[in-house]
């Protein structure tokens, strides 16, 4: 549905820079291929000299000396026909030559600070010219890049800086009016991340106004309103990179010529880089450039899987854990086929590197009996554990690009040559993470997978769902228990004020929301009538507009919470033959109206400590969902997949658990059975137990209460669950 308006970012098949020396340098842009700047600007003039650290020159001298010596040895060995000596010295010559080449190539690495600092003058002059007050902040000036790349980056950076100063940053008077400090800040920052160099140009100016982009796009005839409305924020903002796109009302001398950001985009693509924009209207804009490292030296940890060696960039490494053989069974556990480890109060997904690479398969999910080495790595915000066979050295390595045939391998960020001349691949922790989901689902045999699916299906609780339609061919499900009322209204009853929609309702005004405001779904078609789903959250009522109600159904539905996950949508399932998205009413409100949501107060026990909750739930989907909002409310969470497991956890952690949140329908030991056992145990007789279920109904509730459950709530009603939990904690009768 989205049009391919964004220029595709394709890694270039770059020509090598003309070098006199025979060893080709791969993937360096030919300087002649870059557009010449309109005016000469600081940093972009191809300087014919460069600065090199004396230490580097010393090592070059040393290497040259060694090469001479070894060459002499080689000549002697050849002259005397001493074959073994020839082989040995030849190998040594090979090694030294590689090292020499690397050292020479690294003389080309220059710190970005050189380029960044030149902008001080530029910013000062421009600010004066435009009557604005701007401070330039520079971060990461020590980050190094190859000389050719640095030269090529000068132009694009200049353009972005000018753009930020001209369009982004407001005049002091306007800033003051907006409640911002009159002194604006422009930040140039650089850092290494996952094998790339990230350069950001951030201004705390007016941000990028989507409406202006839309208007401009319409005026330029780039696209029609329907498609514009359907675009996500990211897609809209990328329209700026189209040729001729300029939002300046008048063309100033500095920018706004319409030559624009598309040139920046093209230049960066030539270097094999990408550019992204992040913006908050009225607050700031960030242009983020990512450059693949053609040449960079990064510190790494070398690890081994079998007899193969891999390099893990130090920047991605959070922690190193060695679990002694005796503790393996205790600390590492399998949930289904996925391996996890309890670590600092949460569950860390663990995967064996060999498994990700498709090497000799470990028995899926079974921790091995010997001691294990786990690298806790960060893929963005997400942490996970990578299990390897052995930890080797920590080394600084030169990052080399992999050839074009290997660009599709997500697990690798590049390769390097180790001291012994052999190649080691550099791991891409973000790429590995995307592969992990596959590793979790992959089973050793098809039969096992089938059985797991069957089990999941029988385990899933029955749900009462309201099926509704938004756009003509998109179906959504809303948990019936969360709905207060359903109203059918004529379209003209909707009032618009300040971009928000309302309707008169029961003596007051009801705020109205549409799914497409938050989630990436097709907008509702205009029609004469529509339906409004009224529900309550944060103490107020709100209406969700949909085009029509399809049906109410009670079904055992298995939800997939990965494929369609986005704000406002909890997951998806196939219902009545259609892909149906499960609406997250609370998430919808939290995203569309962040000020509305009353953040529950941080939960505390009567003693003022962080409370611990045991959540017992057999469905991954609900467990994940409940765990996330409970943790957000400040609870420490322990989990169990069924009643039996819950008992084990209680045995282990007994005293520390303040409250139990349990599902009813579970295998092995269900919620009622669990409650009965706990009530018969003097240690847990008074422990608050709240049942969360999908089935509401007086009979079920009565049985629960009779068994000893303190309260009986609906799984997806997070407001009520959190309120009830807080209430029970306050009445905690356990000392």
């Amino acid at each position: 549905m989205s049009l391919p308006l964004t220029p595709p970012v394709v890694p270039p098949a770059a020509e090598p820079a003309p070098v006199a020396v025979q060893p080709e340098v791969v993937a360096m842009p030919a300087l002649s291929a870059l557009p010449k700047p309109a005016k000469p600007m600081p940093g972009a003039v191809a300087e014919n000299t460069l600065r090199v650290h004396v230490k580097l020159l010393d090592s070059l001298m040393t290497l040259a000396g060694e090469l001479v010596l070894t060459r002499n040895q080689l000549l002697r060995a050849v002259a005397s026909g001493d074959t073994p000596a020839i082989e040995v010295t030849a190998q040594r010559v090979d090694l030294i030559t590689s090292e020499l080449q690397e050292a020479i190539m690294s003389t080309r690495m220059q710190p970005l600070g050189n380029v960044f600092h030149k902008f001080q003058r530029v910013v000062r002059d421009l600010a004066k010219e435009l009557g604005k007050e701007i401070t330039l902040v520079i971060e990461g000036e020590e980050v190094e890049l190859d000389k050719a790349v640095i030269e090529a980056i000068g132009d694009p950076l200049m353009h972005l800086v000018r753009n930020g100063i001209d369009h982004g940053i407001e005049r002091p008077a306007a800033r003051q009016q907006a409640g911002k400090p009159m002194q604006a800040t422009l930040t140039l920052s650089a850092r290494h991340e996952a094998g790339q160099v990230i350069i950001e140009v951030t201004d705390d100016g007016a941000g990028i106004d989507q409406r202006k982009i839309k208007d401009k796009a319409l005026t330029m005839g780039l696209c029609d309103r329907v498609h514009l409305e359907a675009m996500s924020d990211k897609e809209l903002v990328r329209l700026i990179f189209l040729p001729g796109f300029s939002m300046a009302k008048q063309v100033t001398d500095i920018s706004g010529r319409g030559v624009g950001l598309d040139v920046v985009h093209t230049n960066l693509t030539k270097l094999g880089g990408t550019i992204d924009i992040e913006s908050q209207v009225g607050r700031r804009s960030t242009f983020r450039i990512k450059l693949p490292l053609t040449l960079a030296i990064i510190p790494c940890l070398l690890v081994a899987v079998g007899d193969e060696r891999y390099a893990l960039p130090q920047v991605n490494l959070v922690e190193l854990i060695r679990v002694p053989a005796a503790q393996v069974a205790h600390r590492l556990e399998a949930i289904g086929s996925a391996l996890v480890m309890r670590h600092r109060g949460s569950l860390l997904p663990i995967v064996h590197l060999g498994e990700i690479l498709g090497l000799s398969p470990q028995t899926a999910g079974q921790p091995c009996a010997a001691a294990v080495n786990i690298l806790v790595v960060a893929a963005g915000d997400l942490h996970y554990g990578l299990m390897v066979d052995a930890l080797l050295d920590s080394e600084e390595i030169v990052v080399k690009p992999l050839g074009q045939h290997l660009q599709g391998c997500k697990s690798y960020a590049g390769a390097t040559i180790l001291g012994d001349g052999r190649v080691a691949l550099i791991l891409d922790v973000v790429g590995i993470r995307t592969m992990m989901h596959l590793a979790e689902v992959k089973d050793t045999s098809g039969a096992e997978k089938h059985r797991a699916v069957q089990q999941n299906q029988t385990r899933e609780d029955s749900q009462s769902l309201l099926l509704v339609r938004n756009a003509p061919d998109e179906q959504f499900a809303i948990p019936l228990s969360l709905i207060s009322r359903i109203e059918k209204i004529p379209a003209h009853a909707i009032e618009t004020s300040g971009g928000r929609r309302y309707m008169q309702y029961r003596g007051g005004t009801l705020r109205l929301l549409a799914l497409e405001e938050v989630a990436h779904v097709t907008p509702r078609a205009e029609a004469e009538t529509l339906s409004v789903i009224v529900f309550a959250t944060g103490g107020r009522e709100i209406g969700l507009m949909v085009s029509s109600i399809i049906d109410v159904l009670e079904a055992e539905v298995v939800f997939d919470d990965m494929t369609f996950r986005q704000p406002g949508i909890l997951g998806s399932a196939i219902i009545m033959g259609h892909t149906t998205l499960l609406v997250d009413l609370f998430g919808l409100v939290a995203t569309a109206l962040p000020d509305w949501v009353m953040r529950p107060e941080r939960a505390v026990t009567q003693l003022g400590t962080q409370p611990t909750v045991l959540i017992v739930e057999d469905s991954h989907f609900f467990l994940h969902h409940i765990k996330s909002f409970v943790e957000e409310a400040g609870y420490h969470v322990l989990t169990a997949m069924d009643g039996l497991e819950a008992l084990q956890v209680l045995e282990q952690h007994g005293e520390t658990i303040n409250l139990v949140l349990t599902d009813i329908e579970m295998p092995n030991l269900d919620g009622l059975g669990l409650t009965a056992r706990l009530r018969n145990d003097p240690r847990f007789a008074l422990l608050p137990i709240i049942a969360v279920t999908s089935v509401s109904g007086e009979a079920a509730e009565k049985r629960g209460l009779e068994a000893g459950i303190n309260e009986y709530l609906i799984k997806l009603d997070q407001d009520k669950i959190l309120a009830s939990m807080a209430q029970h904690l306050m009445c905690d009768c356990i000392a």
């Binding site: 791969v26 050839g403 074009q404």
Partner: protein, 158 residues
């Protein structure tokens, strides 16, 4: 300097290296060859496309090695002293072609090169730009651009 397709070959003479790949003799134009290596330490790249045998260190550069046997649908062989890697230049990078062994060098006149017959299998057929009769048998000259091009869709799934 690419290979001249048999159809528009001017009257020229070219040198070709003949490689043995299974029971096929392939030719690679000398002008496209950077160098030939033997007994190189190969690092396997798991999860790479099947035809990629691994990568090697070529004077500080990481070079992808394509196993010609796999390209032709044969099972790969173990590496030994006979195996050779022919390093060619393609699309701005160096790529290694792994063959069973080097057979010979031939000097071929353009006029003697024949069109590949229609009955070569459809996939492997596009790899060859011409056939050259020799005493040892027919040598199929490789068209590097066809041999080494990769489907970007496939690339995403690698």
């Amino acid at each position: 300097m690419g290979q001249m397709p048999a159809a528009h070959a001017p009257a020229q003479v070219q040198e070709w290296i003949v490689l043995e790949v299974g029971n096929v003799l392939c030719g690679v134009a000398i002008t496209q060859i950077q160098e030939i290596n033997k007994q190189i330490e190969m690092t396997p790249v798991h999860q790479a496309p099947a035809c990629v045998r691994g990568v090697i260190n070529l004077r500080g550069q990481i070079v992808t090695v394509i196993d010609l046997r796999v390209k032709f649908g044969l099972l790969p062989l173990e590496l030994n002293e006979e195996r050779c890697i022919v390093v060619v230049r393609w699309a701005g990078e160096n790529i290694g072609l792994l063959a069973d062994r080097i057979q010979d060098i031939v000097v071929a006149e353009a006029a003697e090169i024949l069109e590949p017959p229609a009955n070569i299998g459809s996939v492997t057929g596009t790899f060859f730009s011409g056939i050259y009769p020799m005493e040892q048998g027919l040598v199929a000259f490789l068209c590097l651009s066809e041999l080494l091009k990769y489907d970007t869709q496939v690339r995403m799934h690698a």
